[in-house]
């Protein structure tokens, strides 16, 4: 019996027969390959705009939009773009989506645009976006690239929110602008200064690496024959 050939749209996305739901591509960015907490990428916005939880979410969502859109477009055009000019083309695509995001944020809320200052334009040089375009989207299907962009973008937003929450609570005594402590609380000004960004990032890296090491120890106890980290986690 002749098998039904997939439609053009199905071939383009490779979904669901080619890749399935590609949930692994989505989940890996949230946790296992989190761009900030594991790959330690995109440190400039991570340290610069996380002095409040609102700024962290706004920057995270703007980056998520650019990441998803650029991943989808780069993946769609991967067979058309010659490898010699791929980086220049990716930067062009990323810069376009950053400009679009800049205008859209201005249209949605001038307040948020004012709060994020120059950092919206700097999304262009966020190495997570170019990194995913080069390492993933240029070699994978549109659907997988979309899921990868979503996972990495949400993982990035999550990490920024972790930093922003701690820094705003301790540095400003508020959370999302609402008072968190009694009036007598003396703010730790250092936490919203650049130094506080480094301290908070170090704290979260220590916390997550500690958790990872603990998990590894537990696995090694259960599976003593597996020695390397890769074996345990794969």
């Amino acid at each position: 019996m002749q098998q039904k050939s997939p439609g053009k749209l199905q071939q383009f996305f490779h979904f669901p027969e080619g890749d399935g739901l590609a949930t692994d591509e989505f989940i890996k960015g949230l946790w296992r390959e989190n761009p900030v907490l594991v790959q330690v990428l995109g440190m400039c916005p991570t340290l610069a705009v996380t002095n409040s939880a609102t700024n962290a979410i706004a920057m995270g969502l703007a980056t998520l939009f650019v990441l998803v859109m650029s991943n989808v477009l780069v993946s769609s055009l991967r067979k058309v773009i010659p490898k010699q000019v791929r980086i220049a083309t990716y930067i062009l695509i990323i810069a376009t989506f950053v400009t679009v995001a800049d205008y859209v944020i201005q249209a949605i809320s001038l307040e948020v645009h004012k709060a994020l200052g120059a950092f919206i334009a700097l999304i262009v040089v966020n190495c997570i976006i170019l990194g995913r375009a080069e390492a993933f989207a240029s070699k994978n299907t549109v659907w997988k690239s979309l899921m990868d962009g979503l996972g990495m973008g949400i993982g990035f937003t999550f990490a920024l929110l972790l930093l922003g929450t701690v820094r705003e609570i301790l540095g400003n005594g508020t959370l999302f602008g609402f008072p968190f402590f009694p009036d007598s609380f003396q703010e730790w000004v250092i936490m919203i200064l650049p130094g506080g960004g480094f301290f908070t990032l170090a704290f979260w890296l220590l916390f997550f690496n500690g958790m990872k090491a603990r998990k590894k120890d537990n696995h090694t106890e259960v599976h003593p024959e597996k020695e390397s980290v890769e074996e345990v986690y794969v």
Binding site: A48, V49, N51, S52, N55, L77, V80, I81, P82, Q84, V85, A88, T89, L92, I93, A95, T96, T99, V100, Y103, V104, Q106, A107, L110, K114, A115, L116, G117, A118, F119, G171, V189, I192, L193
Partner: protein, 225 residues
């Protein structure tokens, strides 16, 4: 002697592909940016006008309406309320149509980029009575406190901007001083950790008030009409 190849080489074909990809994607990106700009421009313009409108009444407490005036070099002329800009002043009137203050736009270099701000000026007491940042790209969490820090904004509740005896310039220039060192009513108390942005606000205000205060003083009767 070398022979000239009749067919294009592999490199030439590759160059054409590169050219095609770059130009094609470049044009598509340009179109996307222009389309987004055109689509969002009316909304952004309306947002900015609304923000300015709110800011005018924010820096002029008690104002019920406003009238726009432009300085034409000799006198203030009344203009449409839709015209904005740095050469325009916004005269705030109370319910009885009495002038209660004047809002003025000012701008200058901040720490990262230009700062645009609006301040309220009381021409009777010769005080600055309100202040709001319209546009800035100061560092989030530090420089952007010039628009958020309540203690800093309290500097502008009654900042002295009196004219000298000849009414040609300020008797005391507006200056920003180190946090906690304010001793005179014409000084601005800086924000800790945002000294450059605080100083920029002082300089912008001083330049603007030095220009507008004598003009407003000399032509106050025109504005009252």
């Amino acid at each position: 002697m070398t022979e000239t190849p009749l067919m294009p080489s592999a490199n030439e074909a590759g160059s054409f592909k590169m050219f095609r990809a770059m130009v094609g994607i470049g044009i598509a990106c340009a179109l996307a940016i222009v389309a987004t700009y055109q689509l969002t421009l009316p909304v952004i313009t309306a947002n900015k006008a609304e923000a300015l409108e709110k800011a005018i009444f924010n820096v002029l407490p008690g104002a019920a309406t406003r009238v726009n005036y432009r300085w034409n070099g000799r006198r203030f002329e009344k203009i449409s309320p839709d015209i904005h800009g740095r050469d325009v002043i916004y005269v705030g009137l109370d319910k009885d149509n009495q002038l209660i203050g004047i809002a003025v736009e000012a701008g200058g270099q901040g720490f990262q980029d230009a700062i645009q701000l609006l301040y309220g000026f009381d021409p009777y007491k010769q005080h600055i009575v309100g202040f709001q940042v319209l546009e800035s790209r100061e560092t989030p969490g530090l420089g952007d406190k010039i628009d958020k820090d309540a203690a800093f904004k309290a500097n502008f509740n009654a900042l002295d901007a009196r004219l000298n005896d000849e009414s040609t310039r300020l008797a005391h220039p507006i200056v920003t001083v180190k946090h906690g060192a304010k001793t005179h009513p014409w000084e601005v108390d800086a924000i800790t950790g945002a000294t450059i942005s605080s100083k920029a606000v002082g300089v912008i205000l001083n330049n603007s008030v030095q220009y507008w205060a004598p003009l407003i003083h000399q032509h106050l009767d025109e504005l009252k009409e």
